[in-house]
């Protein structure tokens, strides 16, 4: 069986302040269906860049390599086409949309994706019912649906809102960029539970973190260590505990 997600020799760079900076330098990674993989690595190793490139952020230029998602050429697709194909990125810092009502945004997104997947669109009543239930499961305050998207949300509320979107959009592949949220244990639990609820033989996830804590709630299948734009080491869940105890230094020097 072909892999669910197949990244080969991926190179990407960004043009920052007129200077081109190579960030990804040959990433190889395969994720089979039904598995949760974790990428760990020191700051600046390219973890967040990888998530942006997979989601189609245009600031990054892919200079070599390929990404196949369920057999399709992911890199040739627009961000919204990737979303419709089932890819979901939970943002490290969710973007604020002033004046845009959260419920309206969610419904527009859900229906855009449903339309693209050939599913029937939800009317306002059906959608609200669904959204309210999902919000309740996430212990979100009911008024969060009425507020503007992420505007004035606390860190925890933003995370819950991301998970709410994930729940409603029903992705088959979720990327969770949790680089900076390591210290808020409650928020981590919300994210982990959100992923756990979606776990199924047809759902995979890629979690970016550098904290063992998240992995206590989320039992991963594989751990990958990323450094200087490449995956330098892969292993089972025990690798995460080892890193947590010994730090990255050892692995980095071995790889060098």
């Amino acid at each position: 069986m072909s892999q669910f997600l197949e990244i080969s020799g991926l190179n990407a760079r960004i043009d920052a302040d007129g200077q081109e900076k190579q960030i990804l330098r040959g990433v190889d990674l395969s994720i089979p269906p039904g598995e949760v993989h974790v990428i760990m690595g020191p700051n600046g190793s390219g973890k967040s860049t990888l998530s942006y490139v997979l989601a189609g952020r245009e600031d990054y230029e892919v200079t070599a390599g390929s990404v196949l998602f369920k057999g399709q050429d992911l890199l040739a697709m627009a961000p919204e086409e990737r979303a419709a194909a089932g890819l979901f990125l939970a943002f490290q810092s969710p973007v604020e949309l002033p004046g845009v009502n959260n419920a309206n945004f969610l419904r527009t997104a859900v229906n855009a994706v449903r339309r693209a997947r050939g599913q029937e669109e939800l009317d306002a009543v059906a959608f609200l019912k669904l959204a309210r239930e999902a919000a309740k499961t996430l212990s979100m305050a009911p008024d969060m649906l009425k507020r503007n998207v992420n505007v004035g949300f606390s860190g925890g509320e933003k995370k819950r809102n991301e998970v709410l979107q994930m729940t409603l959009l029903q992705p088959s592949f979720a990327i969770l960029d949790e680089t900076d949220s390591g210290l808020d244990v409650d928020a981590l639990r919300v994210v982990a539970e959100g992923v756990n609820r979606l776990r199924a033989p047809t759902f995979s996830a890629l979690v970016i973190t550098h904290h063992q804590k998240l992995l206590d709630y989320l039992v991963p299948d594989r751990i990958h260590v990323m450094a200087r734009g490449r995956i330098i080491l892969s292993g089972g869940p025990e690798l995460a505990r080892q890193i947590d105890q010994e730090g990255y230094a050892k692995f980095l020097s071995e790889a060098a």
């Binding site: 245009e58 949309l97 997104a109």
Partner: protein, 494 residues
Amino acid sequence: MPVATETKEAVEKLGQSTYKWGFETDIEMDLAPKGLNEDIIRLISSRKEEPGWMLEWRLAAFRTWQSMEDPKWAKVSYPPIDYQDIHYYAAPRSKAGPKSLDEVDPALLKTYEKLGIPLHEQALLAGVEPGEGERLPVAVDAVFDSVSVATTFRKTLAEAGVIFCPISEAIREHPDLVRRYLGSVVPAGDNFYSALNSAVFTDGSFVYVPKGVRCPMELSTYFRINARNTGQFERTLIVVEEGASVSYLEGCTAPMRDENQLHAAVVELVAMDDASIKYSTVQNWYPGDEEGRGGIYNFVTKRGACRGARSKISWTQVETGSAITWKYPSCILQGEGSVGEFYSVAVTNNCQQADTGTKMIHLGRNTRSTIIAKTISAGRSDSTYRGLVRVQPKASGARNFTQCDSLLIGDKCGAHTVPYIECRNMAARVEHEATTSKISEDQLFYCRQRGLSEEDAVGLIVNGFCRDVLKELPMEFAVEAQKLLQISLEGSVG
């Protein structure tokens, strides 16, 4: 990435063939010869069966106009207009004014049906939204080129004491009211276009709400320019007596044509003690094509007088159409504690130019005004907010808050903010804030990651940007306005 290029191409293909109201109605017209002189004015006046005083008023305005020059201070440019190359009167041919809807030419009814304007009273009542309760009916005055072709719900309104009729009819039927108020807010010689309008105005709406009456339904006028080489010069007068209130809506469309057409309207509002007027506009005149050919010149004078204590006038406008817009709906805040509001969204795309804003003139004590103006420029268009807040020496306790935000889409357009703040009272407080920004890449990407197309994402973000204004619109208009914003900006991303 190749992805981006493809999206842009797809978006560009949408082009600007999106003006859905650009069709033409084939109907037999009664057309005055081109040109403007005293004879034409006499012709208009006699066609309208006007009393002598009205003709004299028009002729005086015409003489004033002849001594004036068109204003040059706005940030818009266009070739000189040949005022002798315009038909000043165009009306669908019919034997006499229709007495009821059944007598209206079916071609006209069909036109309004196509525009989504219901002229059948019962048709409206059928529209019930699930769970939202019954939708209130809207009374419509439909103005086709130079004349009003139908006014609905007149009986229901008359029972409440509200007069809602074409102004040409009001001049004949309610001459005292019209004489008393016409030109009292916008004098004929106020500016070049108001003088022109005063000389040649053909139709428009008249609303009178007597003391203590809350108008039982929304009133609306729908303006349609159809004939070629004509100008539309409508005149609207709304008088609301003590303790009374009304909400009035105005919509406009025109066929797609290569030549420019002139629309120079005058709107006057009068609010007495504790009266309130809410005036909403969705302006969707044909904007011209992507090369800037054709489109309406929309040169409009709108002004409200808050004459009574605690009176309130609120202007809400969504301006998406017209090749050129020159428009400053204003409030004269004379009554103590009176309130003026101006909520505006102005969208320009392709080669459109807009110079629009408001004037808030604080004369009375404790008068308050709020200005929220949202400007969106795309394509090669130019959009200017121009506003005046003036506090006169007697306006102690006056208060103004102004917020102007501009959004630029693309680097070939311009967005400008020109506020004038003149304060001559120490016990007044004036605050003005303005920002200019663009839609951030972060916001666009976030929406697209959630599955929205680039166009939908822009639409959503723009609607969010305009929310403070759109929420001021009555429900029916708000939905229409949101769609309109999106359509107006189609093809602007990339």
